[in-house]
Amino acid sequence: MKIIEPHIHMVSRTTDDYQALAISGIYTITEPAFWAGYDRRTAEGFRDYFTQLTGFEHARAAKFGIRHYCWICLNPKEAEDLKLAEDVLAIIPEFLDKPTVLGIGEIGLNKNSRNEIKVLEKHVALAAKRNEMILVHTPHLEDKLKGTRLIMDVILNEKRINPERVMIDHAEEHTVAEIKDKGFWTGLTLYPYSKCTPIRAADIIEINGSDKIWMNSAADWGISDPLATLKAANEMRMRGHSEVLVQKIFYDNPKAFLSQCPKFEAA
């Protein structure tokens, strides 16, 4: 079975993980820009990071036959400093035309602050101006519900954005239905402790259906599992769900969403 891993932070992973992905049938991945675990101090620091995402990381993946795409943005955890955000937003367009950049992401909110919202609005305006697709990070734990609602309000207020071209990721039991009801795609992130387990993700599919939804590992520098999608697929098979349904969630759905960007081609 082939799986598309639509959200993974390979800059934080070892080359052994690329090998594990490839021998597990994961030949296509997309990597959103994210928080490095510490705050970068300058726009030039972000330029280096975006260069890594669009250059070195793509080449590292290719050595294992993996197609590596990415998304560019200033992530919400570094959005409190408005001057830095303005500086980074100014360099983002340099990277959006690169052949492996699918759009703007992962933007969103972290603590649901006023400055985070301002920076989110600027990213959304940039996406609208350039007709870019959007990948959204929703906040963690107690902040998720409120943040998800605030994010959807910001995006829906920008009438040039089609929700069908927006993925709102890291959804859980209390946010999936609201996201889908508003016309967005949504993602379940298989990340221990702070997000969703493969078992709960299978429950969410059973309750909410399989349309316009993907699963991802969001594996990064924290305790996380780059093969989590395989475990969720296995959980669904173990429960007796069909191969057609499993393929829909782990390959057909991410392919359908990502193929709205003409640069994307699934392996």
Partner: protein, 101 residues
Amino acid sequence: MAAHKSQMSSNAILDVYFIENRARLIEVAAFLDRLDRAGNAAKGKSDFRYKAFLAALKILVEGKEGRAKELQMLFSDLSPEPLESAAGMKSASGAWKGVGK
């Protein structure tokens, strides 16, 4: 949108998931015991996270379907207004200070 009914019987669900969830319950009990043994247990029990935790346990035994979503809502910040500033704040605590108020 069509849901996807699990093909597992209730007995099969118990066979597959009972032991791991039994273990989780014992972990919860041990966590509460650990708090009881702590030198400043009273302070911990006045913490908003502890109060939210006890409220969550009540939801588990009420026997209503939709417990997972209800727990998520219990732990969620339900205030409508954005935070004035997130300066110096990165992580979440897992529960909302306004729960039960």
